[in-house]
């Protein structure tokens, strides 16, 4: 039996930022989750038209790809993380055991579907969920999961299934832990560079923008257009669940609300204080207001989605009577997303200019 001593489990809005923060805190450095999110250049938008999500709707990404935040934080703060993907679970487990014996908590990227301690509605096949191993006793592993208020427990069979999925793009058998915290960290520089990178990710150069029409601000505009097409592309229960899932994904899938934009507001407030910048205070207010508006759009999606029938058999009759109402509702929501894209366009341009002035 081995359990990390002095480990403090804490929840997080998001699994990657929450896990990275918990590891850094355990290593002795106090840092907030929004700071990890901001330095890690978390905010993003991807309309992944080529990848199907729940209910066969295209996947929407509202933060940078899994693992990117860790890389960015490591690069900009100088915190040294050991990160490695092993060829099989036996090797990965052996390394994890060595680390636990050395009192080092170790983060893993796993499929959330097998996290039995989470409620059933979170048992979805998402092989990019970050957890921290903090102990092992026989076949039972002790887990610190930012999505769970208490410490969770996993049987070795579930851990193995979650850690080696062979799913497309999954980082099977990968782990990371803090290796070294530098004596001095230039947080100001890290914050400024993190902001610059975020702006660059959101506002692509004009030529690239046309090619990468599904990324950043242009991705938001593409998504808005596609919303109007949903009743043509989908029908029945799939359409109902797809509309609801889009909204829940913006709010309840580890975003902290408003598609991560509210947590980014918390980061900008912290950055404003660190850098003594009144311009950043104003930017924080703008993104918080935007995040709240995004939440309102999510609520509209939920209200509209709930109007659709819960069985395929009822759909044809329902759509004959309600096609106009559905089209109008989606058109209104699409319009609000187009406005949201305009807001983010101005916001990230202004933030980029402020970051350039700051250093």
């Amino acid at each position: 039996m081995k359990t990390i001593s002095n480990y403090t489990h804490d929840v997080g809005a998001h699994c990657e930022t929450g896990s990275v923060r918990n590891l850094i805190r355990h290593a002795g450095l106090e840092v907030t989750e929004p700071m990890i999110f901001g330095i890690g250049s978390g905010p993003a938008f991807y309309y992944l038209f080529f990848a199907k999500g729940p209910s066969t709707f295209p996947l929407i990404g509202i933060r940078t790809p899994p693992g990117t935040i860790l890389k960015n934080v490591s690069k900009l703060s100088g915190i040294d993380f050991f990160s490695r993907q092993y060829s099989n679970t036996d090797k990965a487990l052996a390394r994890a055991h060595e680390l636990l014996e050395s009192n080092v908590p170790v983060a893993l990227s796993v499929d959330m579907f097998y996290m039995k301690y989470l409620p059933s509605f979170l048992h979805v096949h998402a092989p990019f969920h970050f957890i921290i191993l903090v102990g092992v006793e026989g076949d039972r592993y002790t887990i610190s999961d930012p999505y769970f208020e208490e410490i969770g427990y996993l049987h070795i069979d579930d851990l193995r299934a979650a850690w080696e999925t062979h799913a497309p793009l999954a980082k099977d058998n990968s782990l990371f832990h803090v290796k070294n915290i530098p004596g001095e960290i230039d947080w100001k520089n890290a914050v400024i560079r993190g902001m610059k990178r975020t702006c660059k990710n959101m506002i692509l150069p004009p030529v690239i923008r046309n090619l990468m029409f599904f990324v950043g601000i242009q991705g938001m505009r593409t998504y808005a257009k596609k919303i109007r097409q949903w009743p043509k592309d989908f029908s029945g229960v799939i359409l109902r669940e797809g509309i609801l899932f889009n909204a829940v994904g913006f709010e309840d899938q580890g975003t902290g609300g408003g598609a991560f934009r509210l947590m980014y507001g918390a980061f900008l407030q912290e950055a404003a204080e660190l850098l003594g910048s009144t311009a950043l205070v104003e930017m924080a207010d703008r993104i918080i207001e935007h995040g709240r508006n995004w939440r309102d759009i999510s609520r509209m999606l939920i209200r509209l989605g709930k109007k659709l029938p819960t069985s395929d058999e009822e759909y044809n009759d329902w759509i004959r009577q309600n096609a106009g109402m559905l089209d109008d509702g989606l058109d209104e929501i699409a319009g609000l997303f187009e406005k949201a894209a305009d807001v983010e366009d101005r916001f990230f341009r202004d933030l980029g200019n402020i970051a350039a002035d700051l250093g």
Binding site: V248, G257, S311
Partner: protein, 156 residues
């Protein structure tokens, strides 16, 4: 597979960490039950209906047990093929009742691992009333299962 009379509900409310500005404009976090909790409840009901709809298609010999679990767990053919380490066309064959008859036990074990079920779950669907508890435990790499049936004290 055990299909309970009453769909599984969220036994304990799950709280998420949410960020928002307080009355002074400072962005703070708080743990809160999802404001969409009632929609999650509806989602459970929807999924329970979906299980029964798929079960009818299964017993009518329209789909295979692999199709049943793939559809229920909302995995795409491409994703499933990658996870089971076979081609997408092979998975497509296994989605039909005739194709399913040709799946080897080894491949079936891989499917079972992905779906987190036992091999017996591909062949046995147990409808359980609320006053009965049925618990399956897995053995020998999901090849064997032990079933324990008890009275549900809460529903007496």
């Amino acid at each position: 597979m055990i299909i309970t009379e009453t769909p599984e509900q969220q036994k304990h409310p799950h709280r998420f960490l949410m960020w928002d500005a307080d009355e002074n404009g400072k962005c703070v976090s708080s743990l809160a039950e999802s404001e969409f909790a009632s929609d999650i409840h509806l989602y459970y009901e929807q999924r329970a209906k979906e299980v029964r709809r798929l079960l009818v298609r299964l017993t009518d010999n329209e789909i295979s047990p692999v199709y049943f679990f793939m559809d229920y767990q909302q995995i795409t053919v491409k994703d499933l093929a990658s996870r089971v380490r076979v081609s997408a066309s092979t998975v497509k064959k296994h989605l039909t009742p005739d194709g399913f008859k040709k799946v080897s036990i080894e491949i079936l074990q891989r499917y079972a691992r992905v779906f987190d079920i036992m091999l017996a779950d591909f062949f046995n669907f147990t409808l359980v009333p609320d006053d009965i508890n049925v618990k399956n435990t897995r053995h020998n790499n999901r090849l064997l299962q032990k079933t324990t049936i008890t009275a549900n004290e809460n529903n007496k």
